[in-house]
Symmetry: C2
Subunit: 212 residues, 2 copies
DNA sequence: TAGATTGTTAATCGATTAACAATC
DNA sequence: TAGATTGTTAATCGATTAACAATC
């Protein structure tokens, strides 16, 4: 209920801390300090404490944080204490890769549908999922109470896909198409643009040679 | 040569502007204003002008920007006026998808090598590329003057892969493994963490239900 | 000239860092 | 108690926005 605005970077880091804590916990380590978390995740100790402080007091002064405890809290904050059903729209190479990606399942995401409007792809099996036509999206979204959709369709189709997803009741979209989506305010969208990330690197490489 | 620090977000947006301008240019539109660019890319007009102003004066007061001209400038800034050879390490689903991804080639990236240390993957063909053992990385990097590497190996192997890439002379790494890489200061690293992006969305969805 | 839009400065906003009192 | 580390406040740093003079 707090009206406190939390920086997006804080949430991103929380995800990183969470994964780091999982690894630490697996090693059997019980207690960890903000300095050690910082060391392991490449941020500053003050940053770690500040990020956590948005959500509560999870540590013990003079001691540090209980690993299992803090891990649970970070997962709770990220909304990962229950599983999420996800649909993927676009069964090309990237879409297929995501459906097969074990990392998602491990963090609580269940891909319950893959869709395409390319007839040569419909009916294909990806793991245990059959690629369905996009007209099936509303049914699957309703049946599995899907809140999240991933768009791996080409840029030219992305907006149409987004419209279908929104109309079906999806509340959050992860968009891999290099295009800006128009959605209602209540729908969350994040873009992952693979080329853009490479271009940040070429920018820096180019700068070193020529300078700007 | 300017010592001016440019925000990473500016570079990301420049990449978005650049792609938007390509689309606008294809429509045959000659002139565009900061307001129209802003409208098309989801930022503020002041932001657009500020971002561009880091690099020069590309517009004409009272008129706007010449589309072709500005497109050229943004490509130049991003280092996309010549092509980049890239290697991909990790020939799993994601690696395979990236090799086949046409978006890279279109923006000036040529994937010249795919590597894995899994014997069942070595020798497989991805498009016209044969998957090679990781011991071949140094040779290919040198032969093609590769400056950029993409890591799509599992987290457990990512640091080893990074070491090999750095030793081979790679200067920039795009890392898909959910782990923090240790590399020398002169090597640029960016992470793309697919789960983290989903977790930002679940965070927001969770917040709406329970509040934080 | 009048209208439009840039480039740039100053004001605002927000995020990170430093420092330290609280406390185990 | 002495040493350590958190939680939090204040200071700093950086990025975005608003406003407007310059100028086409």
């Amino acid at each position: 209920m707090k009206a406190l605005k939390i920086p997006e970077a804080t949430i991103t880091r929380l995800s990183v801390y969470s994964r780091f804590l999982e690894a630490i916990d697996k090693k059997g380590i019980v207690t960890i300090s903000s300095g050690e978390i910082a060391e392991g995740t490449g941020v500053s100790p003050a940053q770690v404490r500040k990020d956590l402080a948005y959500f509560g007091e999870f540590g013990t002064r003079g001691v540090g944080y209980n690993v299992k405890d803090l891990l649970k809290h970070t997962l709770k904050i990220l909304g990962l204490t229950n599983r999420w059903s996800v649909v993927v729209v676009g069964a090309g190479n990237l879409g297929s890769a995501l459906v097969s990606y074990r990392g998602f399942r491990q963090r609580g995401f269940d891909i319950v549908g893959v869709f395409d409007n390319d007839l040569t792809k419909i009916g294909k099996k990806l793991l245990d999922l059959e690629v369905l036509g996009t007209e099936e999206i509303p049914r699957v979204v309703k049946e599995h109470n899907v809140k999240m959709g991933v768009i791996t369709a080409p840029a030219s189709a992305a907006q149409d896909v987004a419209n279908i997803l929104v109309k079906s009741g999806v509340k959050a979209i992860l968009n891999f198409a290099p295009t800006v989506l128009n959605v209602p305010d209540h729908v969350h969208v994040r873009n992952i643009d693979l080329s853009t990330k490479l271009e940040i690197l070429t920018f820096h490489l180019g700068m070193e040679n020529e300078g700007y």
